[in-house]
Protein backbone atom coordinates (compact mmCIF):
# COMPACT_ATOMS: atom_id res chain seq x y z
CA UNK A 1 0.00 0.00 0.00
CA UNK A 2 0.87 3.61 -0.20
CA UNK A 3 3.40 4.91 2.28
CA UNK A 4 4.02 8.53 3.06
CA UNK A 5 7.34 9.28 4.75
CA UNK A 6 8.23 12.54 6.46
CA UNK A 7 11.63 13.86 7.45
CA UNK A 8 12.87 14.96 9.84
CA UNK A 9 10.85 13.46 12.68
CA UNK A 10 11.93 16.29 14.98
CA UNK A 11 13.01 19.83 14.17
CA UNK A 12 14.46 22.12 16.83
CA UNK A 13 14.59 25.66 15.52
CA UNK A 14 15.92 28.93 16.87
CA UNK A 15 13.26 31.62 16.81
CA UNK A 16 13.69 33.70 13.67
CA UNK A 17 15.34 30.94 11.64
CA UNK A 18 13.91 29.12 8.63
CA UNK A 19 13.35 25.39 8.26
CA UNK A 20 11.93 22.88 5.82
CA UNK A 21 10.13 19.59 6.34
CA UNK A 22 9.84 17.02 3.58
CA UNK A 23 7.27 14.46 2.58
CA UNK A 24 7.84 11.55 0.18
CA UNK A 25 5.41 9.02 -1.18
CA UNK A 26 6.07 5.59 -2.62
CA UNK A 27 3.34 6.18 -5.20
CA UNK A 28 2.09 9.07 -7.29
CA UNK A 29 -0.48 11.11 -5.40
CA UNK A 30 -3.61 12.72 -6.78
CA UNK A 31 -3.09 15.48 -4.27
CA UNK A 32 -1.32 16.19 -1.00
CA UNK A 33 -2.58 17.87 2.13
CA UNK A 34 -0.82 19.44 5.09
CA UNK A 35 -2.10 19.58 8.64
CA UNK A 36 -0.86 21.17 11.84
CA UNK A 37 -1.43 19.74 15.30
CA UNK A 38 -0.65 21.97 18.26
CA UNK A 39 0.48 20.26 21.50
CA UNK A 40 -2.58 18.73 23.14
CA UNK A 41 -4.73 19.53 20.12
CA UNK A 42 -6.04 17.80 17.04
CA UNK A 43 -4.85 18.04 13.43
CA UNK A 44 -6.10 21.11 11.60
CA UNK A 45 -6.17 21.28 7.81
CA UNK A 46 -3.76 23.85 6.38
CA UNK A 47 -3.72 23.40 2.62
CA UNK A 48 -4.13 21.08 -0.34
CA UNK A 49 -1.89 20.89 -3.41
CA UNK A 50 -3.17 19.27 -6.57
CA UNK A 51 -1.08 20.24 -9.57
CA UNK A 52 2.40 19.03 -10.44
CA UNK A 53 4.96 21.64 -9.36
CA UNK A 54 2.35 23.69 -7.51
CA UNK A 55 3.53 26.23 -4.95
CA UNK A 56 1.24 27.89 -2.43
CA UNK A 57 1.96 30.38 0.32
CA UNK A 58 0.24 31.13 3.59
CA UNK A 59 2.03 34.07 5.21
CA UNK A 60 5.39 32.61 6.34
CA UNK A 61 4.55 29.07 5.17
CA UNK A 62 5.40 27.91 1.64
CA UNK A 63 4.09 24.57 0.38
CA UNK A 64 5.38 22.84 -2.71
CA UNK A 65 4.24 19.76 -4.65
CA UNK A 66 6.89 17.94 -6.65
CA UNK A 67 6.86 17.66 -10.42
CA UNK A 68 6.33 13.90 -10.24
CA UNK A 69 3.61 14.33 -7.58
CA UNK A 70 5.47 11.99 -5.24
CA UNK A 71 6.96 14.51 -2.85
CA UNK A 72 6.15 17.74 -1.11
CA UNK A 73 7.77 20.24 1.21
CA UNK A 74 6.75 22.82 3.78
CA UNK A 75 9.12 25.73 4.34
CA UNK A 76 8.63 28.11 7.25
CA UNK A 77 10.48 31.39 7.32
CA UNK A 78 11.31 33.44 10.43
CA UNK A 79 10.01 30.79 12.81
CA UNK A 80 7.89 32.03 15.70
CA UNK A 81 6.81 30.34 18.93
CA UNK A 82 3.33 30.03 17.44
CA UNK A 83 4.78 27.57 14.89
CA UNK A 84 5.31 24.95 17.60
CA UNK A 85 3.49 21.69 16.89
CA UNK A 86 3.50 18.66 14.62
CA UNK A 87 3.10 19.08 10.90
CA UNK A 88 1.64 16.18 8.95
CA UNK A 89 1.48 15.62 5.25
CA UNK A 90 -1.17 13.31 3.87
CA UNK A 91 -1.63 11.87 0.42
CA UNK A 92 -4.82 10.77 -1.26
CA UNK A 93 -4.63 7.55 -3.16
CA UNK A 94 -7.45 5.13 -3.83
CA UNK A 95 -9.87 7.61 -2.22
CA UNK A 96 -8.17 7.32 1.18
CA UNK A 97 -5.94 9.76 3.00
CA UNK A 98 -2.66 8.31 4.28
CA UNK A 99 -0.71 10.37 6.79
CA UNK A 100 3.01 10.64 7.32
CA UNK A 101 4.37 10.26 10.86
CA UNK A 102 4.77 14.02 11.17
CA UNK A 103 7.54 16.50 11.94
CA UNK A 104 7.42 17.80 15.49
CA UNK A 105 8.73 21.35 15.72
CA UNK A 106 10.05 23.01 18.86
CA UNK A 107 11.24 26.60 18.96
CA UNK A 108 14.02 28.05 21.10
CA UNK A 109 13.29 31.63 22.06
Amino acid sequence: GQQVMQIPQYQHVQEGEDFTTYCNSSTTLSNIQWYKQRPGGHPVFLIQLVKSGEVKKQKRLTFQFGEAKKNSSLHITATQTTDVGTYFCAGINDYKLSFGAGTTVTVRA
Binding site: H42, K96, L97
Partner: protein, 114 residues
Protein backbone atom coordinates in the same frame (compact mmCIF):
# COMPACT_ATOMS: atom_id res chain seq x y z
CA UNK B 1 -17.72 26.15 11.27
CA UNK B 2 -17.83 22.40 10.79
CA UNK B 3 -17.91 20.70 14.09
CA UNK B 4 -16.86 17.15 14.81
CA UNK B 5 -17.65 16.17 18.35
CA UNK B 6 -16.25 13.14 20.12
CA UNK B 7 -18.20 12.09 23.17
CA UNK B 8 -15.30 11.60 25.59
CA UNK B 9 -11.95 13.34 25.92
CA UNK B 10 -10.47 10.74 28.25
CA UNK B 11 -11.56 7.17 28.84
CA UNK B 12 -10.18 4.38 31.02
CA UNK B 13 -11.43 0.85 30.41
CA UNK B 14 -10.51 -2.61 31.59
CA UNK B 15 -9.11 -5.36 29.39
CA UNK B 16 -11.92 -7.36 27.82
CA UNK B 17 -14.54 -4.61 28.07
CA UNK B 18 -16.60 -3.59 25.08
CA UNK B 19 -15.89 0.06 24.32
CA UNK B 20 -17.91 2.51 22.26
CA UNK B 21 -16.38 5.71 20.94
CA UNK B 22 -18.93 8.11 19.53
CA UNK B 23 -18.44 10.79 16.90
CA UNK B 24 -21.00 13.29 15.61
CA UNK B 25 -20.59 15.89 12.86
CA UNK B 26 -22.98 18.73 12.15
CA UNK B 27 -22.24 19.63 8.54
CA UNK B 28 -24.05 16.90 6.64
CA UNK B 29 -20.78 15.35 5.46
CA UNK B 30 -21.06 12.02 3.66
CA UNK B 31 -17.59 10.87 4.61
CA UNK B 32 -16.39 9.94 8.08
CA UNK B 33 -13.21 8.34 9.33
CA UNK B 34 -11.65 6.84 12.44
CA UNK B 35 -7.90 7.09 13.03
CA UNK B 36 -5.66 6.17 15.89
CA UNK B 37 -2.60 8.25 16.67
CA UNK B 38 0.48 6.82 18.34
CA UNK B 39 3.87 8.52 18.87
CA UNK B 40 6.18 8.04 15.91
CA UNK B 41 3.50 6.32 13.83
CA UNK B 42 1.38 9.25 12.81
CA UNK B 43 -2.30 8.72 12.09
CA UNK B 44 -3.40 5.27 10.98
CA UNK B 45 -6.78 4.67 9.40
CA UNK B 46 -8.98 2.14 11.17
CA UNK B 47 -12.31 2.35 9.33
CA UNK B 48 -14.13 4.80 7.13
CA UNK B 49 -17.60 5.31 5.76
CA UNK B 50 -18.85 7.09 2.65
CA UNK B 51 -22.54 6.73 3.39
CA UNK B 52 -25.06 5.64 5.96
CA UNK B 53 -24.81 1.93 6.77
CA UNK B 54 -21.70 1.71 4.63
CA UNK B 55 -18.26 0.89 6.05
CA UNK B 56 -14.84 0.09 4.68
CA UNK B 57 -11.76 -1.28 6.40
CA UNK B 58 -8.76 0.97 6.68
CA UNK B 59 -5.18 -0.06 7.27
CA UNK B 60 -5.55 -1.44 10.82
CA UNK B 61 -9.14 -2.72 11.31
CA UNK B 62 -8.29 -5.76 13.45
CA UNK B 63 -9.97 -5.64 16.85
CA UNK B 64 -12.36 -2.87 15.81
CA UNK B 65 -15.76 -2.53 14.22
CA UNK B 66 -17.88 0.49 13.31
CA UNK B 67 -21.49 1.52 13.01
CA UNK B 68 -23.09 4.24 10.95
CA UNK B 69 -26.85 4.16 11.40
CA UNK B 70 -27.28 7.91 10.81
CA UNK B 71 -25.39 10.22 8.53
CA UNK B 72 -24.10 12.45 11.30
CA UNK B 73 -22.91 9.70 13.65
CA UNK B 74 -20.03 7.28 13.24
CA UNK B 75 -19.22 4.95 16.12
CA UNK B 76 -16.06 2.97 16.72
CA UNK B 77 -16.41 -0.23 18.72
CA UNK B 78 -13.70 -2.18 20.47
CA UNK B 79 -15.29 -5.59 20.89
CA UNK B 80 -12.90 -6.72 23.62
CA UNK B 81 -10.46 -4.01 24.63
CA UNK B 82 -6.80 -4.92 24.94
CA UNK B 83 -3.85 -2.96 26.31
CA UNK B 84 -2.39 -2.52 22.81
CA UNK B 85 -5.46 -0.48 21.94
CA UNK B 86 -4.41 2.23 24.38
CA UNK B 87 -4.12 5.23 22.08
CA UNK B 88 -5.51 8.56 20.96
CA UNK B 89 -8.53 8.03 18.72
CA UNK B 90 -9.45 10.73 16.23
CA UNK B 91 -12.65 10.99 14.26
CA UNK B 92 -12.79 13.08 11.09
CA UNK B 93 -15.27 14.03 8.43
CA UNK B 94 -14.98 15.45 4.95
CA UNK B 95 -17.29 16.94 2.37
CA UNK B 96 -15.63 15.40 -0.67
CA UNK B 97 -15.12 11.71 -1.31
CA UNK B 98 -11.69 10.52 -0.27
CA UNK B 99 -11.10 13.65 1.76
CA UNK B 100 -10.17 16.00 -1.04
CA UNK B 101 -10.54 19.51 0.31
CA UNK B 102 -9.43 18.50 3.77
CA UNK B 103 -10.63 16.65 6.80
CA UNK B 104 -12.14 18.20 9.92
CA UNK B 105 -11.04 16.37 13.02
CA UNK B 106 -12.65 16.02 16.41
CA UNK B 107 -10.71 16.80 19.57
CA UNK B 108 -9.86 13.14 20.09
CA UNK B 109 -10.49 10.52 22.75
CA UNK B 110 -7.49 9.34 24.73
CA UNK B 111 -8.29 5.75 25.64
CA UNK B 112 -6.34 3.86 28.26
CA UNK B 113 -6.94 0.13 28.61
CA UNK B 114 -5.75 -1.30 31.90
Amino acid sequence: DVKVTQSSRYLVKRTGEKVFLECVQDMDHENMFWYRQDPGLGLRLIYFSYDVKMKEKGDIPEGYSVSREKKERFSLILESASTNQTSMYLCASSLQTGGAGGYTFGSGTRLTVV
